[in-house]
């Protein structure tokens, strides 16, 4: 201390020096290192009860769940049945259009000879019923879907109410 700091080298200065030397204990109580190491270990355990492995497993589970969701959403869309839209529909019920009308369940079985049935349907159709708006479904699948579509239409009939229109009277003409 005396090397670095200017101190008065008198009895009082020496007394202060002595007092300063004994101001802080030279050595701590024995076993300080062990106590520090034990304290550090305890504090560390208390701070992270899960440990890095615990957090890693949580992160892995979360990542797996996210991956599952990302894979499942497009797969679900791919597996859902295609929506069949009918571009044209017959004015008559499907049963009348073709005597051998098929239900959707039958459609698969009869798909192979659909062409022959279509020809038969055309032959059986009464003459004069072939108006321009009527289009015969070409395949059994189409026929089936048309039938389903027509059935759903039959459940919701459109009621048309007559509209009363008053005659227009123009006095100049009378």
């Amino acid at each position: 201390m005396r090397d670095d700091f200017e101190v008065l080298d008198d009895p009082l200065g020496r007394l202060i020096d002595r007092a300063l030397q004994s101001y802080t204990p030279r050595n701590p109580l024995p076993g300080l290192e062990q106590r520090i190491l034990a304290g550090v270990a305890t504090a560390n355990r208390r701070r992270a009860p899960w440990g890095w492995r615990g957090w890693n497993s949580i992160a892995a589970v979360a990542a797996a769940a996210l991956l599952l969701v990302l894979v499942a959403i497009p797969l679900r869309h791919r597996l859902s049945p295609p929506h069949i839209t009918v571009a044209s529909r017959s004015a008559q019920p499907a049963e009348q259009l073709s005597p051998g009308a098929l239900t959707p369940q039958d459609a698969g079985q009869h798909d192979s000879n659909s062409r022959a049935k279509q020809v038969r349907a055309i032959k059986l159709r009464p003459a004069g019923s072939d108006s321009g708006a009527v289009v015969t479904p070409r395949s059994s699948v189409r026929r089936a879907s048309t039938a389903v579509h027509d059935e759903s239409m039959a459940f919701a009939p459109i009621a048309l109410k007559p509209i009363a229109v008053a005659p227009i009277e123009i006095p100049a003409l009378n």
Binding site: F5, L12, A19, L20, S22, T24, P28, L29, E33, V40
Partner: protein
Amino acid sequence: MRNAILIASRREPLQDQAGESSRRAGSFAAFVERHAAFVFRIAHAVTRHAQDAEDAAQETFLQVYRANRWEQIEDERAYLARVAWRLAIRQRKPKAREEELPFDLDMPDASPLDSAMDRQLESWLHSRIDALPEKLRQPLALAALGELKLVEIAVILGLPEGTVRRRIHTARARLRLEFQGLNERQGGAYEG
């Protein structure tokens, strides 16, 4: 043979991890061994309480361990002194009103009693050091350790070297004045 290689390759990272972990634990233990007493003294210079100083020392090493960089510290003592000082300041309880110890300088000159008087005088001076304002007491206490150079104390306290020197000088001058006042009150009993 192939299975043995597979097993060996699976075990290697774990063994490496365990080896590295034990090496680091050993390195940290050695680090604590080297500096524990020094850190304790720094903390004690601030807190003036053995248990508080030990707590501060423990907290210092815990911080270093969590920062995980005791192997990369360039000047270990300066770094630890700075951390310990900061933590000890936090640990230090608010200073109670310092009571001046009763002290009688008018003692017989018998030599066995000289040392007793010196001890009494020392503890009186300690109480006076404790009563100094912190900005004067801390540089003086750190200098009193006798282990730090002026420039190191300046780094620890975050002050210019000249300021630290001036504060230490002021602190000593105050102690002198107090002692001279006491001596005068006692009729100049202390001759040195």
